[in-house]
Symmetry: C2
Subunit: 404 residues, 2 copies
C-alpha cells in the first residue's frame, strides 16, 4: 500500500508548504536592501512570536549554538551557575557550562519528572550567576515550571540570570518573558515555526546585555553584542542562512494568519493547537491501556509513552515506520527502548492526530498484547477529547492553559 | 485549530511531492534533445501504465480533449454511434458525438447504476461505428463492465470500435486493453498519476488508426495521426506542457518504485491501494448507517454516499471543508445535494483514509442525527477492513480484484 512519509517527531517537525516555497525562492544576496528588509521584518516578527520587548537575534546554528552563546556570553571561567536537569537537554546545559569553565551546581531529577521549586531554592547560592533550564524537556515530554523558577529567582537571588532553552517550549507553552523576567529565551527553527533545522533565535534582556560586558569567556561566531550591532542595520555578523530566514518569514506570516493577522493571537492559537493534539493523544494512549511517561507535567510539544512491560519501545517506532511511514521517536540516551514519543509541536492538525492514533491502534493490535484491546476505542476517546477542547470558547481555553 | 488543506476529490487528486519537484525544475525547451529524451521515456512508460502494446499519445488538454479527439478522429458526420450513459460523463459522450454530427444511440441508465450487457446488445446496430463508454463514472462512483462490453462487441459487431474514457478508471481498475480489444483508452493527468490537470493521454489500436483514414470530421489540434508522427521523433505536434510531462515522468517512476522497479507491478499495486482505501471507506460509511449510492458496482476511484433522509449532502461537504479543510465533492449535475463523494484514486494511504473517516464521524456526531451513532465505530470497521485486505498475500488479492 502507498505509505506517505509523515514526521511525528518533536523536531524536525512537518514543514509548512508556504515556507517550503519561500525557501525555494530565496535567491537573494545577503548584503542587499532586499535581504535587509526581510531580516528586519523577521527579527521584528520574532519579538512578537517570543512575546517580548527584548532584542531577538537570529543565529545560523542549531539550537545548541544558541545554548552555547548563552553560556559563553554570560559567564566567565570559575563562575558558579545552576543547571536544572531532568533529561538529555538538561545534561547538555551541564556539559556546556563545564566546557566554558563554570563551577556547575545541578538539580537533577529522574527522567520523566520535573523538579520542585523547593529543590531549586535549596540549590541556589548567593553567588549563582545564572540558572540554565529547559521550558520543556524534549527527551522526556516533561514541562517545567519556568514561571515558578523565574518568580523564585526574583525573591531568592535577584542577581542571578535566568536562561531558558524553550526550543520545544516556544509555540507549545504560554510564556510571559518580560513580566516573568526571563533573560535569555532560546528557540529553534525546526520546531513550532515549522521550517527545517539550521536557525536558532534568542531574546536577550537588558540585564543580560549588561552582564556580557563583564563576561570573560571566549566567543567569536556567537558574539551576541556583535550580532546585535549588525542586526540594527538589518545585517547578520556572518553569512546568514538566507533561505531559512525567508522560510521563517513565511511561517511567521502563516502563524499571524491563524490569529486573523495578529501574530500574538496566532502564537496563542498555535499553543492551543498543540494542546489539543496532545490532549487527544494522551487520552488515546491511556485508553489503549498504555501509561504516560510524564503524567504529572506533560508537555504539549510531545507525548512520551511507556510500552507494555517487557516490550522494547523500538518495536512501536519500527512498526509505525515500516507499515505506515509514520516517523515517531524512541527515547534518547538512557531512555532508549523505554519510551516512544509522538510530537504535536508545530504543523499538526486534527486529521494528523487521528491518523497517528489509528496507526498506533493498528500496531497495538498486531504487536502489543494489550488486555481488552478493541479497534476504535482509543480513536473514539481522542475524538471526544477534541470535542471537549473545541467546544469551549477560545478565550476561556487560552486563559485556562495560560494559567497552568 | 490548524487545518491542513487535503483533497479527497476524484481529480484533482493529492499531488505526489516528487512530481511537484520535477514540475518546478522543468526549465527546458521543448525542441531540444533533453525534452525529446524525456518525452520518449514518458510515452514508453505510459504504454506500460495503460498496459498496452498500442501507441500511447499525450495531449496538452484536459481529459475532455482526448474524448473529443476520439470522436473527431474516428467518426464522420452521419455515422451511427452508441453511447453508454450512466451519469454526467456519459452525457458528455452524447453531447460530443452530437457536436460532431453523429447519429447517436444511447443506452441510458439512472445515476448510481450500471447497464446490463443485454441492454447494450439490444442497442447495437450493424452500422454502429463506435461505442463510447466510461470505465468508471466519476459522477456517481459506479464501475462499468468494460471487459463485458468488449467481449460483446467481438461477437455481436466486430466492426464497431470501442472507446473507453478511463480517466478515473486507469490506476483504480485492472484492464487488459489489448486482449479485451479496447481501441481507444483515455486517461488524465490529475487522476491516478497524481499530478495537476492539463494533460490527457490515450492509447490507440491499429483498427482505430485504420478507421481514421476514412473519417471525415474536422480536426487540427487533436489530429492524432499528426501527433503520432511527431511522437516517433520525441516531439509533440504543438507546444507540449513541459512541466506536466516532467511531473508525469516522476510520477510514473514513483509508481514503478511501488512495484519494486517494475511499472506493470506498480500499476497493479496502485489499483490495489485504491481498492483498500475504498474498502475501508465503504465499510466505515455503512457502519455509520449511511447508504452507498452504488452498492452493486462501486468504483475504487471514489465512494459515493447518500446522506440521511432530508439532509442535503452539501452539509457534509461544507462541514468537512470548514472544520477540517478536507475537500470532498458533492454530487454533480442532477445529483447535487443528493450524494457526497470521497476519493481514493491516486496518492492516498491508510492514514489519509483513517483521517477522513475520523473527520466524517466528527461531522456525523454534530450534524447528522444517525441512530446508534458512536465515536470510533466506523473507524474500527475501517481498521478491520484494512487488516482483512492486507492480511492476504498480494498475488491472491490482485487476482481476486482482476477477476471481477
Amino acid at each position: 500500500m502507498i505509505r506517505k512519509t509523515r514526521l511525528f517527531t518533536p523536531g524536525p517537525t512537518p514543514l509548512l508548504p508556504a515556507a517550503q516555497f519561500a525557501m525555494a525562492a530565496a535567491d537573494i544576496h545577503h548584503r542587499t536592501p532586499e535581504f535587509r528588509a526581510l531580516y528586519l521584518r523577521v527579527l521584528d516578527q520574532l519579538k512578537t512570536f517570543v512575546g517580548t520587548k527584548n532584542d531577538v537575534l537570529l543565529l545560523a546554528s542549531s539550537g545548541t549554538g544558541a545554548m552555547e552563546a548563552s553560556v559563553s556570553n554570560l559567564t566567565s571561567p570559575g563562575d558558579r551557575v545552576l543547571v536544572l536537569s531532568a533529561g538529555k537537554f538538561g545534561e547538555r546545559w551541564e556539559a556546556l557550562a563545564k566546557a566554558f569553565g563554570c563551577s556547575v551546581d545541578v538539580v537533577k531529577v529522574p527522567y520523566g519528572q520535573t523538579f520542585s521549586l523547593d529543590e531549586v531554592r535549596k540549590a541556589l547560592k548567593t553567588e549563582t550567576r545564572a540558572v540554565f533550564m529547559q521550558a520543556t524537556e524534549s527527551s522526556t515530554g516533561v514541562r517545567h515550571d519556568v514561571q515558578g523558577v523565574a518568580a523564585l529567582l526574583k525573591t531568592a537571588n535577584s542577581n542571578s540570570l535566568l536562561v531558558v532553552d524553550a526550543i520545544t517550549g516556544l509555540g507549545t507553552t504560554h510564556f510571559d518573558v518580560d513580566t516573568w523576567g526571563v533573560d535569555i529565551m532560546i528557540g529553534g527553527s525546526q520546531k513550532a515555526v515549522m521550517i527545517p533545522p539550521g536557525l536558532s533565535y534568542l531574546s536577550v534582556s537588558d540585564r543580560a546585555w549588561q552582564a556580557m560586558e563583564s563576561s570573560r569567556n571566549p566567543r567569536y561566531y556567537f558574539d551576541l553584542r556583535k550580532e546585535r550591532k549588525n542586526a540594527k542595520n538589518g545585517e547578520s555578523a556572518y553569512t546568514p542562512a538566507v533561505a531559512l530566514i525567508a522560510a521563517l518569514g513565511a511561517a511567521l506570516d502563516y502563524i499571524a494568519a491563524q490569529g486573523g493577522g495578529d501574530l500574538a493571537v496566532g502564537r496563542k492559537a498555535l499553543v492551543d493547537n498543540a494542546e489539543t493534539c496532545a490532549a487527544m493523544t494522551r487520552a488515546a494512549v491511556e485508553a489503549l491501556g498504555l501509561k504516560l511517561f510524564a503524567p504529572d507535567a506533560p508537555a504539549a510539544a510531545a507525548t512520551a509513552v511507556l510500552p507494555p512491560d517487557g516490550v522494547d519501545s523500538g518495536v512501536v517506532v519500527k512498526e509505525l515506520k515500516s507499515r505506515f511511514a509514520a516517523v515517531i521517536t524512541n527515547g534518547q540516551g538512557e531512555m532508549k527502548g523505554q519510551i516512544f514519543r509522538i510530537a504535536h509541536i508545530g504543523f499538526f492538525d486534527y486529521m494528523d492526530t487521528i491518523a497517528i492514533v489509528g496507526a498506533l491502534e493498528q500496531v497495538a493490535a498486531s504487536s502489543l498484547k494489550l488486555p481488552g484491546f478493541e479497534f476504535g476505542k482509543a480513536l473514539a476517546v481522542a475524538q471526544k477529547a477534541y470535542v471537549e477542547r473545541t467546544a469551549k470558547p477560545a478565550s476561556e481555553k487560552l486563559e485556562a492553559v495560560g494559567a497552568r
